[in-house]
Symmetry: C2
């Protein structure tokens, strides 16, 4: 049975509601999932931008009680999940609403796990270790990139080991994701850029993943097209139509990677994020061109399709030459976005690379990369962009 | 609130499991949804093909009890739903498994509605009239076309009025759809052809629908590509790879139309199906080219994309000329499939056309067609293919 189960293809997506002003249905959605007492997970930046007040207004309009939990930072920590669970249980909450980027959403997922499963968050690292159903979760993403609002992934930092844990389970797929592009209008430019590069990375890694299939591929390709068309303008002008394009890119990239999983960029990014507390999208952005260059020969035809989706004129070109355009295109985009291109710019120490490479080799995302790099090859990749 | 709600875009998909041999997970899935006593809805043809015996084996392997309900015909009737509900309640079932084409699946949806909602099946005609959650539903489609296994639609014939009722509600979206391409190997060629044309119709209607959006479009376009590439070969050779291609075409077309709704082909097909008890896919196939020809000028750019997806070489062609290729392409495909091209071949009487046109004008699927035809125009369309 489990052998068969491994070779079957899966596709799961939360209920998605998209549109300007859709924040207004948050109360209705929490109520529809059977909620009466909401744990509202967010962070101080989102509160400051005014979106939490708005969300509360709509929760109250449905006569829902709520408790605010905003003890969340970028790269959420194990102990922040634990404190959130305490609050959830003490206040007898029965539904979780996350308003924010990947960090509040991943924190909310961690809280959900421990609210109905025993033990500690470390016990759930890896694939499918959650046995009890978790409380209902409604997400309102305020960034366009993480895909956490539609994925079965949660990334939580284990502070004992300074490591990012990947938790992957159908159980933590949110129930409803409400995507209101207006929420992106208060996002600083550099975060539009870096979370957007996260979306592009998701789409490319999901497309070349060994678990990609005809139901995930159209979303990957469309997300690559949308990010190529909208990311620069969204960052430079904050134009609502470009931001809306990026919300769909993020959604589709999230749908694709949640079902097809990821690859070497994420395998190399997670150890870095755990050790240095860096912004995940930024690390991905630095690693993406070099990993694509290494992966290229192992998935040439797929990278040729990526090139087409990125707008490379393909007439008369061989797949090999088309594929070779992808890292160039990505590099130019990153330069235009004004994002850093070297790990040393983020404070990564060269002497840490060997131990990072050992961790990256074992990362769950490496399993679905088109090629399984050994530790020496991973070190080489890190050094190339150091 | 309801005004906002109307302009938000939605995307909902059941959990999908796809692969050769996936029938084997049916027991595990029913069990995971909390089931202990299964109502197994199917039809005599599927039993004869041996798939029900196999399904039962996997239900028993999970220690599930089951009751068989096979009183289902093509274009399922109101009274068949009622008898199924009686059995469901009498045998204290708690989960429904449907094995078959659109008819057993729609019957199963109808049974689910009445198992937990009061009244008669007629009370639920139209949009969003179901108030109580329905029992869990696992679908195993044995055809590649209806999309009933992934859609929020159920079509049940009201025998008092000889009319097909369209029931449209999030509540009847199946929980899990298990797509095993092997189940298609026992399907007669003419059913591969006609259900495949149903899938192509779904994809095209969803793509040009006024509710289509960037999350449904990639699925519509990919479904059109897959059906164009695989339908003829699947019908002529029953080759498993072509059948597998058609299962994905059907899935993606189903995902697209469940979220973007349909158009005039379905609005005109449903009254015909209600009055004459004809095969839905066949009627769609006859109506599709003429409706596309009429719709073309109202969605020219979209039909140009449909042409590209169908393999029309687009270099240097204007959108208008590209769009004009679509009905020709469809007509050639239907001819190659050996399907009828006129309603008179199916026994439709010309004198019924005026009253059919009145019903078609009011059909819910007409609301999302790129143009709202009046009764005279609908009569004209029917007559053109009579």
């Amino acid at each position: 049975m489990s052998n068969l189960d491994d070779c079957l293809l899966k596709f799961e997506v939360p209920e998605i509601i998209h549109g300007e002003g859709s924040l207004a249905v948050v109360g209705e959605c929490a109520r529809r999932l059977g909620g009466e007492r909401v744990l509202l997970v967010t962070d101080p930046g989102v509160i400051k931008a005014g979106w939490v007040d708005q969300a509360i207004k709509y929760l109250e309009a449905e006569d829902l009680k709520y408790v605010l939990y905003d003890n969340v930072v970028s790269n959420p920590r194990d102990f922040q999940v634990e404190k959130g669970v305490d609050l959830y249980l003490r206040k007898k909450c029965d539904v979780i609403v996350a308003v924010g980027g990947g960090s509040p959403i991943d924190t909310a997922k961690g809280i959900g796990i421990l609210a109905s499963n025993n033990g500690q968050i470390y016990d759930y690292e890896g694939c499918n270790r959650i046995t009890q159903p978790v409380p209902p979760l409604v997400c309102l993403p305020t960034t366009a990139g993480t895909g956490a609002d539609v994925s079965q992934f949660a990334i939580v930092t284990d502070t004992r080991r300074s490591m990012k844990m990947t938790i992957l389970s159908r159980a933590i797929m949110p129930d409803i994701s409400i995507i209101d592009p207006c929420l992106l209008t208060t996002l600083p430019e550099h975060l539009i850029a870096s979370t957007g590069m996260d979306a592009l990375t998701h789409a490319i890694e999901a497309y070349v993943s060994s678990l990609s299939w005809p139901l995930t591929d159209p979303h990957s390709i469309h997300a690559i097209k949308l990010a190529s068309n909208h990311l620069l303008r969204a960052t430079q002008t904050r134009d609502l139509s470009a931001l809306t394009g990026m919300t769909v890119a993020s959604l589709e990239a999230g749908i694709a990677f949640s079902n097809a999983i990821l690859g070497a960029v994420h395998a190399l990014a997670h150890p870095l994020g755990g050790l240095y507390d860096l912004h995940h999208g930024l690390i991905n952005s630095i690693l993406l061109p070099v990993v694509v260059r290494q992966n290229m020969e192992h998935a040439q035809d797929k990278f040729a399709q990526v090139a087409r989706a990125m707008g490379v004129k393909s007439r008369g070109m061989e797949a090999k030459d088309l594929a070779a355009e992808v890292p160039e295109k990505i590099t130019r985009l990153i330069e235009n976005l004004g994002l850093p291109t070297r790990l040393s710019q983020l404070g990564v120490k060269k002497e840490d690379i060997p131990s990072l490479a050992v961790l990256a080799k074992e990362e769950v995302c490496m399993l679905t990369n088109p090629y399984h790099y050994n530790v020496a090859e991973i070190e080489h990749i890190y050094k190339e962009v150091w």
